[in-house]
């Protein structure tokens, strides 16, 4: 009994637990604010709207539908996890990968041509897409490492360049462009480039977009976790991120680490594209705005406390309320209400470090008070 008690008290004192608790507070406040906005727009339907956002697949009546949409949310979570990992990896090195959307776009371009056009096997397409995204990310990395160009700015510029590049190439290639829907041709389940379902679809009412991708992404999460927990290179990356000059002085090659990190985070953004497109769920839509998935990745990465395992849950949460948000259009609400909630959550998650500091200070204070009290009693 005592042991269990001790386990829980040590769990509460752990920093990771505190991060989780403060993140949950952020999520709660974000959701509450979203509810207030729904109330302002339409007070009558606000409660039902909120329950759709929070319930997502649960609002369907039959179990078949529920499992089907649950599978869909899970399958869409996989690319978001990849995107958050991309942000996480670069952030560990002190870089902010705001160019993830551009890397994603380039990967989509490759997938459209090699996956739909050339009908190559799915894993070859996936690897080449990751490679292309990685090379695109390296533009930013090289500019940062050798020319001291701020990676945030170059990332933003490269996002727009990639957007127009992909728009321009795809719209002028009739073989892969579906002009009647103004989107790229989707990969169908018969295609070689389709990520196989390996029977997982049967668990989710035959929803074929659920498949190997979900298992793959969990493996990648584990790899990233091990990279930063156990390997030398992971340690070096973190050291560069904490203090680049000190790390350099200690013999860690800063330039090399910046290049490695941008390459990895680019590849992860490419993986996100592959997991999003190669299950036939969606494709490139003609748009004048940069794909939003890169920014969603930032939300999930920070809400997940910049921890690979935290990211799995935060990504699911964000995808869950985003999908839920898309269900409230019938009630006259804009689906962007969910986007308001997530952005408020990221905004608040910036306060987590501060909150932890305050908690820490209070703890020390309490400890000191206790010590001085004990002293008085003894005297």
């Amino acid at each position: 009994m005592n042991k269990i008690k001790m386990f829980f008290s040590s769990l509460i004192k752990k920093d990771s637990t505190k991060t989780v608790v403060t993140s949950l507070w952020c999520a709660l406040i974000g959701l509450l604010l979203g509810f207030v906005i729904l109330l302002c727009i339409n007070a009558k339907d606000a409660a039902y709207g909120m329950s759709s956002v929070l319930g997502n697949f649960l609002i369907f009546k039959t179990p078949t539908d529920r499992w089907n949409y649950f599978g869909q949310t899970l399958a869409k979570t996989a690319p978001l996890i990849a995107m958050s990992l991309s942000i996480l990896v670069s952030y560990k090195c002190g870089l902010f990968n705001l160019g993830a959307s551009g890397q994603y776009s380039i990967a989509v371009l490759v997938i459209s041509f090699l996956g739909y056009g050339a009908n190559l096997p799915w894993w070859i397409v996936m690897i080449l897409a990751m490679l292309a995204a990685s090379l695109w990310a390296l533009i930013s990395g090289v500019l940062k490492a050798f020319f001291n160009v701020n990676e945030v700015i170059s990332g933003i510029m490269l996002n727009w360049i990639a957007l127009y590049l992909v728009n321009g190439i795809l719209t002028s290639s009739p073989s892969v462009w579906d002009s009647s829907h103004s989107e790229a041709q989707r990969i169908t389940s018969e295609s070689n480039a389709f990520i196989p379902s390996i029977g997982l679809d049967k668990l989710f009412s035959g929803n074929q977009i659920v498949g190997l991708g979900m298992i793959l992404i969990l493996v990648v999460v584990a790899i990233i976790y091990i990279l930063f927990k156990k390997t030398t290179i992971g340690y070096e990356i973190k050291a560069t991120g904490l203090n680049g000059d000190a790390a350099n002085y200690a013999g860690i090659n800063k330039v090399k680490n910046i290049l490695i990190v941008t390459a990895i985070s680019g590849a992860l953004a490419g993986l996100a594209a592959s997991l999003n497109i190669q299950n036939g769920f969606t494709s490139w839509r003609l748009s004048s705005a940069v794909p939003s998935i890169g920014f969603q990745g930032i939300s999930a990465a920070f809400l997940g406390g910049l921890h690979p395992i935290g990211i799995v849950f935060s990504s699911f949460f964000i995808q869950h309320i985003t999908d839920g948000g898309s269900m409230i259009t019938d009630l006259g609400f804009a689906p962007e209400v969910a986007s308001i909630m997530t952005s408020v959550i990221i905004y608040l998650s910036g306060f987590v470090a501060f909150a932890l500091q305050v908690i820490h200070k209070n703890e020390i204070k309490a400890e000191l008070e206790k010590l001085s009290r004990d002293k008085e009693v003894k005297q």
Binding site: I37, I41, F96, L98, L143, F147, N148, V149, N150, V152, I153, S154, I156, M157, L158, W160, I161, L163, Y164, L165, N167, G168, T171, S172, S288, A289, V290, S292, F295, I298, S299, F302, T329, G332, F333, A334, E336, V337, S339, I340, T342, S343, V344, I346, Y347, S349, G350, F351, A353, F354
Partner: protein
């Protein structure tokens, strides 16, 4: 002749939008806070101005209506930027993160609110367009009596503001304090400058100017699609700020180069020589960003930015 004049007014308008927004960003960055939320402040400025345009009665005199709209843009941009100030100064949050959050929030808010305002028009899903022809005509007047050439008189306001900003930054007490908070907040604090207050004012000014930039952007056309926020102009302004090396005159020059290429993407079909090249229109759209990237390569090597940029001020580290 008409084409040339329209091109020049278009060019001037973009130069002014980028300059005023980048100058706003300069106040924020000189104080030591990354101005990533410029895009968000522009969107919010444009959004609030747009909603007010939609709600003001037609019977109101044009001059008064324009004044109200301008004030709304300034105030809303300023208030929105305070969110960044609270996060980055009081709560010492990561500035890039807070800025990104505010950018996403601004677009989401814009879409939700515009849909709410234009409910009766039943827009298709995924669109949140606002039409404000009356105000387009208020802000764009005929040019020397030539009917087809419209001149946006907000340009004049910006041109008047540039020397004022120059004076505030280089000659006023506040400007010097601002710079000291961005360069070395510890020593600024040690001589009695309130770092937090100075930074708050810097960010507030950046929001106000960005809000004005947002309204200006809105006034360049008769309708606006809010799903795209400020169309990335806020990010471009940030880039202009960096390769303008945080100096007002260079910023103006940078904005000019940029706008030149931006204008090219709009007018190239009417220039025979360029239209005959058969290059995709997307290339011209991407061109300003490509040029920006190239210029950044040449100007970034020597980092001349505020030294304390991006780091929250911690008294304990003094």
């Amino acid at each position: 002749m008409i084409i040339v004049l329209s091109t020049i007014t278009f060019l001037l308008a973009y130069v002014c939008i980028l300059t005023i927004t980048a100058l706003g960003g300069m106040f924020s960055e000189k104080s030591g806070t990354v101005a990533l939320a410029l895009e968000g402040c522009m969107t919010i400025g444009a959004l609030c101005a747009g909603i007010v345009m939609h709600l003001l009665p037609d019977s109101m005199p044009n001059g008064l209506a324009a004044l109200i709209v301008i004030l709304v843009a300034l105030i809303s941009g300023g208030l929105y930027s305070l969110l960044l100030a609270v996060a980055s100064i009081t709560f010492k949050a990561n500035q890039t993160l807070a800025g990104t959050a505010l950018n996403i929030l601004s677009t989401a808010l814009a879409v939700v609110l515009i849909k709410q305002v234009t409910k009766s028009e039943a827009l298709p899903v995924g669109q949140s367009r606002l039409n404000y022809t009356r105000f387009y005509e208020i802000f764009n007047v005929s040019f020397f009596g030539i009917k087809d050439v419209k001149f946006n008189w907000l340009i004049l306001i910006v041109l008047a503001l540039i020397p004022i900003v120059y004076f505030v930054i280089y000659k006023s007490k506040y400007g010097l304090r601002l710079a000291s908070c961005g360069e070395n907040p510890s020593s600024a604090d040690s001589v009695g400058i309130n770092v937090a207050k100075t930074r708050y004012i810097g960010i507030l000014l950046s929001g106000i100017l960005a809000g004005f930039g947002g309204l200006f952007l809105l006034s360049t056309s008769a309708e606006w699609e809010f799903a795209n926020g400020a169309n990335g102009i806020g990010f471009l302004a940030l880039a202009v700020l960096i390769f303008g090396q945080w100096k007002p005159l260079y910023i103006f020059l940078g904005a000019f180069i940029f706008s030149l290429f931006k204008t090219l993407s709009v007018v190239y079909p009417s220039i025979n020589f360029l239209a005959n090249l058969g290059i995709s229109s997307y290339f011209y759209l991407a061109l300003p960003y490509i040029v920006c990237l190239v210029v950044l390569v040449f100007t970034s090597k020597k980092n001349t930015g505020p030294k304390a940029l991006g780091t929250p001020y911690d008294k304990g580290k003094r």
